[in-house]
Symmetry: C2
Subunit: 348 residues, 2 copies
DNA sequence: AGGCGAGTTGTGAACGCCCACATCGTAGCA
DNA sequence: TGCTACGATGTGGGCGTTCACAACTCGCCT
């Protein structure tokens, strides 16, 4: 009843180099040359092979190729809480550059911030034979040296690593952004500035936090209370309430990112405090919504697209030339003034 | 000067099955069995092998394995504008489930909405020997049948496909959410409801749009003007301004997602219109910030985590049993009432 | 005591491709 | 004319696994 030829047809066997070769009447090596754009192939042969490839719908088998060449033409990204705006942006932008360069992308994320999780993610990704990996590693407290060890000789570049670490890395200069904020606030006449920071285990949060305090101090201003929160609007809301409870004098509130700023503004308003008349608020990131907050948010824009680009460019360099000296490429954020900041009122 | 053994050490050759076998004094096949958890291996042998594996830091070579087995243990995601909240959420959630199941993840995105781009992405991803792919395909106008053809016999499930398409798919019932919105609005007494929709090339946008009109009509209400926008706050802002310019009576504004709602609210307010006193506004998605908008946004929550989960579960089923009948799994969104909606005022 | 089966281990052959080298032809040059 | 050199093609081997078998060792049943 069943045609014996029927069974194999269930899974359409994909054409191989040999199939194409046979179809074109050449050897598989010649086909391989055509596929890989090797120069010395006669024009007529090439076109015959191409026709055969087309006819058979041949596609090279990546696994076989990478087995033979020991390169996979895909790079990995280990991401971190890609739910947040920054990391998500990086991922997308890196992906698009990578695609342009002809690389595939393998992605894995780190569930929690523990060192163990980081290690697990790295070891997981590193036996996936990749040509290199980009690591979005915003966490402080993870020893960069030991991570480098985990990677062995696999090329990798890190994003968001603390300045000064001796690894290939790309970063946005957080301090630069914070300084602009402080300058702006001080110029407006603010002397009482409080802070809601991101989780201090994140390098960026910590750097923003520390720069804020030092810059303020340098301007002869005693930093007001600072509350650590969690990057979310809900967290910012709660933090602002706690801040209000301290009854500390405060005419300006520097918040670690835009989402928290949104929550904070809501809390202030709930307490009958006007923004910016009573208290100025600043954010960080310049998410696309920030301009439509009420009031439109003064914030610091980070160019994640450029970041992704730099990242990939750096990584491909390292892949080609493993001896590339380790350095950090740093990008500068831009300060965006909108309406959530103003001169402090007399009272306060 | 140079020790001849030095050169090879530049690239530390990774241990292979053979190396481990030799080290443990067994055959490579036995090692393979241990690695793959095959049952019939003597306890003592197993432990000897394990020791050798540990000592040599052996890691199986994925390329070789997938060459031999014809399965790669990685699944692909072709994403779509992962900059937006929904798609980004899906990606992250799918990734985490996938990891739990032991799959790797390859990711590619479609730059623009053209059919050509979709085809390119699919063909790109399909010669990357994957076990299956999840396609986030929110675009209308892309012929589902032809996509299925492109995939050939590779298992795939689609997200956000129009209801009724004969492919494996998972979706959130948009109509259900819209109906809840309308019901709510009508119960409050609104009779003049306008709309700002997402780009109608997106299935979700279109379905929300059409359901809104039909539901309104079913309630005996003539739908007010509808303006198509682009999912962003900026777009929502502009759309609302255009809407105001029409001077159409409007006590309720149904917006296609939360970001646009934010922009719209800002535009209304700029025009001296109060929300919700003068105009009620609703969103869609329930992004984490929505509760902190001013006013807190009444919206429809989509559970992207569950979506990702269903997706992966479905896909792995299809991989195991390719004959799985095609169907659509649909999840239901929940309606969240906050403060951006209220009874219409007398005037209008 | 012979034999049968379960448990354990090893062997040969793919998987589809690239690399290094060998081979052939032919054009260029003395 | 004979030699060289290079362009075009083919051949053998190997990348690290898994799969289908074969082979061996026991213990236990008849």
């Amino acid at each position: 009843m069943a045609d014996p030829t029927e069974r194999p047809s269930r899974k359409v066997k994909r054409a191989t180099l040999d199939d194409v070769a046979q179809c074109a009447g050449v050897s598989y090596q010649t086909v391989s040359r055509v596929v890989n754009g090797h120069p010395s192939v006669a024009v007529v042969t090439r076109s015959r092979v191409l026709a055969a490839i087309d006819k058979l719908g041949y596609r090279p088998n990546r696994a076989a190729r990478s087995l033979a060449t020991r390169r996979s033409n895909t790079i990995g990204i280990v991401g971190f809480d890609t739910r947040y705006y920054g990391p998500a942006q990086m991922l997308v932008n890196i992906e698009s550059v990578l695609k342009r360069e002809g690389y595939g992308l393998a992605f894995t994320s780190i569930d929690d911030g523990t060192v163990a999780a980081v290690q697990r993610a790295i070891s997981e990704i590193s036996n996936q034979d990749l040509d290199g990996v980009v690591m979005i590693a915003p966490l402080a407290g993870v020893d960069v040296e030991s991570i480098a060890d985990l990677f062995g000789d696999m090329p990798f570049v890190m994003i968001d690593v603390k300045p000064g670490e001796a690894v290939h890395s790309v970063a946005i200069d957080q301090a630069h952004g914070v300084r602009a904020v402080v300058q702006h606030l001080v110029a407006l006449g603010h002397r009482n500035v409080c802070e809601i920071s991101g989780p201090l285990r994140w390098n960026d949060a910590r750097e923003r936090h520390e720069t804020l305090r030092s810059t303020l101090a340098a301007a002869g201003i005693e930093p007001g209370p600072s509350i650590e929160s969690d990057w979310t609007a809900a967290g910012g809301f709660a933090a602002a309430q706690r801040l209000l409870a301290t009854r500390a004098p405060c005419t300006a509130l520097v918040v670690g990112n835009d989402q928290m700023a949104l929550g904070a503004i809501r809390a202030l308003r709930d307490a009958g405090i006007r923004v910016p008349e009573d208290v100025s608020v600043t954010g960080f990131d310049d998410i696309p919504e920030a301009a439509y907050f009420d009031p439109p948010l003064t914030t610091v824009r980070q160019d994640f697209e450029a970041l992704g680009q730099q990242c990939v460019e750096y990584l491909t360099n390292v892949i080609k030339a493993p001896q590339t000296p380790r350095h950090q490429r740093v990008l500068y954020p831009t300060f965006v003034v909108r309406s959530s900041t103003a001169e402090p009122s007399q009272a306060s």
